[in-house]
């Protein structure tokens, strides 16, 4: 009875993973398919991976997506980390309001933030394009970085910083030599989250991209209606590979840093 129960439980877990991974497996499999239609698997080929590097539109969309993701992640990680520290340490007028405002991008439907940003860009006569895309991605990423950093910050004992001050280190030195290394796991996971959210964003980009600036998700969105060619599958498979490599290395670094802290 116990044993049968266990098999059923494992079966359920396997089913959930099948559901989560099935579309991805399909995507990867069809990136090696000779037929142009993503319907039946004819035979194995690397053709689409080669073709990918000739598809200028797709490569440009990919390049834009990477630029936006890198710039918006860098900016939002720096501002988000700073904000989390400032909001914890200092009191200032309107802090309560700021504390409430930063949750808004996390909780309201993305589409609402998208149209709100589009509206103010129009109000201020900003031309829609790479700049507005980057600005919008920064806008929705910062709150995720703040919450992520804040969660490590609240667990941090104030004795470390106190010790640094007692030893004569200034505020800035203490921050960079003591606080920052200790909250690094939160900074890294916040940054990773910002990066992946940016890479994948459809909704907000849809409203804040101009006619001349295409991102990869937007390009794929427009292709879905006419039919997706397997070179898109190939690009997505490559990106998946990169994501997995990045994720594995971050896990490795984090587990190292936990070990290191354990030794101190």
């Amino acid at each position: 009875m116990e044993k049968k129960n266990k098999t059923l439980r494992n079966l359920f877990i396997i089913l959930v993973y099948t559901f989560l991974y099935l579309p991805i497996v399909i995507l990867v499999v069809f990136s090696f398919n000779a037929s142009k239609m993503n319907i039946v698997f004819t035979h194995f080929t690397f053709e689409w991976y080669a073709k990918l590097f000739q598809n200028k539109d797709l490569l440009e969309a990919f390049r834009n997506t990477m630029i936006i993701a890198v710039v918006s992640t860098a900016v939002s990680t720096v501002i988000g980390t700073m904000s989390a520290v400032v909001l914890q340490k200092y009191d200032f007028k309107g802090k309560d309001l700021v504390n409430k405002l930063i949750y808004i991008p996390i909780v309201i439907p993305e589409i609402v933030l998208g149209i709100a940003l589009l509206s103010v860009y129009t109000l201020f006569h900003l031309n829609l394009g790479m700049f507005t895309l980057i600005l919008s991605h920064i806008a929705f990423s910062i709150p995720f970085v703040i919450t992520s950093v804040r969660s490590t910050l609240t667990q941090l004992s104030p004795t470390y910083e106190q010790a640094a001050y007692d030893l004569g280190a200034g505020k800035i030195r203490t921050f960079f030599d003591v606080t920052l290394p200790l909250i690094m796991p939160g900074v890294i996971s916040g940054g990773t989250l910002a990066f992946t959210l940016s890479l994948d964003d459809v909704v907000i980009s849809y409203f804040t991209a101009g006619p001349g600036s295409n991102t990869l998700p937007l390009k794929i969105y427009s292709m879905i209606k006419t039919g997706i060619t397997p070179d898109v599958n190939a690009l997505s498979s490559l990106m998946l590979l990169v994501v997995i490599i990045v994720l594995v290395s971050i896990t490795y670094i984090q587990s190292k840093s936990i070990q290191k802290r354990g030794k101190v």
Partner: protein, 284 residues
């Protein structure tokens, strides 16, 4: 002292500027827009009106709202039904295994969600993988209509949003003290009783957290209803999108957006009442 003050102002400035410029002003401007009249050329007339809000109660729009809410609720319900047993069953595993399995839940949604949604087209369409497999096994005579309908949308929504339910539910379930469950077992409580009297109350905030992170996007993700609903089915997300990009009635689109914001804030209030923390929302 002055230098200290100046330093404080400089480091505080970014977060203040950000939250005013990129959050407060845009939302307030949408609120302002929602009370303006639209002219027939897609422009705005600077004249106060409540018309946009009254228009939401038009039967066509009420139907779209209701449909979105039903799709959102069904998606949320299905996600809860998957996440509870999944999290509880996972507790049998060792901690290292569990951490790895939870990471595996996250990997799919680090890849492009559109391309994954497209993967569902390949699976679900009439000549798709599911239908061809079923008919080659002689289980069906005619291909099933698995997409371009409500079913397709719900499959797509559940798929895209499931990790947002699994993570908070799992984190709540894993915090339950195993001794409490053992004690209940010893006192003769069966599985169902243990679930209702221990697991549910202990995980309520986690489930509500997940429900918010599933339900709210589900009413706005226009791309899923576009792709898997075949463009025939409108949810609130499509409605807002159309008002801003095709119909070009910004004030009406703004009014629906404000309606959604107010609705979201109400849900957040409930979440806080039952002991949920804002910092845990969207924390992955």
């Amino acid at each position: 002292m002055n230098r200290k003050k100046a330093f404080q102002i400089i480091v505080t400035l970014p977060v203040v500027v950000y939250s005013l410029l990129l959050i407060l002003i845009p939302i307030v401007y949408v609120l302002f827009l929602s009370f303006l009249k639209s002219d027939s050329f897609g422009g705005i007339e600077y004249q106060f009106t409540l018309e946009n809000y009254l228009m939401i109660f038009d039967i066509i729009y009420i139907k779209i709202l209701l449909k979105s809410f039903i799709i959102g609720l069904l998606t949320t319900f299905i996600c809860i039904c998957i996440s509870y047993p999944f999290s509880i069953f996972l507790m049998d595993k060792s901690e290292t295994k569990r951490n790895l399995l939870i990471k595996l839940v996250m990997i799919p949604f680090l890849t492009n969600s559109l391309i994954r949604t497209y993967g569902w087209i390949v699976l679900l369409r009439k000549s798709g993988v599911v239908n061809t497999t079923l008919s080659s096994l002689n289980l069906i005579d005619k291909p099933l209509n698995l997409m371009y309908n409500n079913l397709g949308i719900i499959i797509g929504m559940v798929y895209t949003l499931l990790p947002f339910m699994i993570l908070p539910v799992y984190s709540a379930v894993s915090k339950i003290d195993a001794r409490v469950i053992d004690a209940a077992k010893d006192l003769g409580a069966n599985k169902i009783k243990r679930f209702i009297h221990i697991i549910v109350p202990e995980t309520l905030a986690g489930v509500f957290n997940g429900s918010l992170m599933v339900f709210i996007p589900a009413i706005g993700y226009f791309f899923i209803s576009d792709i898997l609903g075949g463009g025939k089915i409108m949810i609130v997300g499509n409605l807002i999108k159309n008002q801003f990009l095709t119909a070009r009635n910004w004030p009406f689109g703004a009014a629906i957006s404000i309606f959604l914001i107010v609705f979201t804030f109400l849900l957040i209030r409930i979440y806080k009442k039952i002991g949920g923390k804002l910092d845990e929302l969207g924390g992955l």
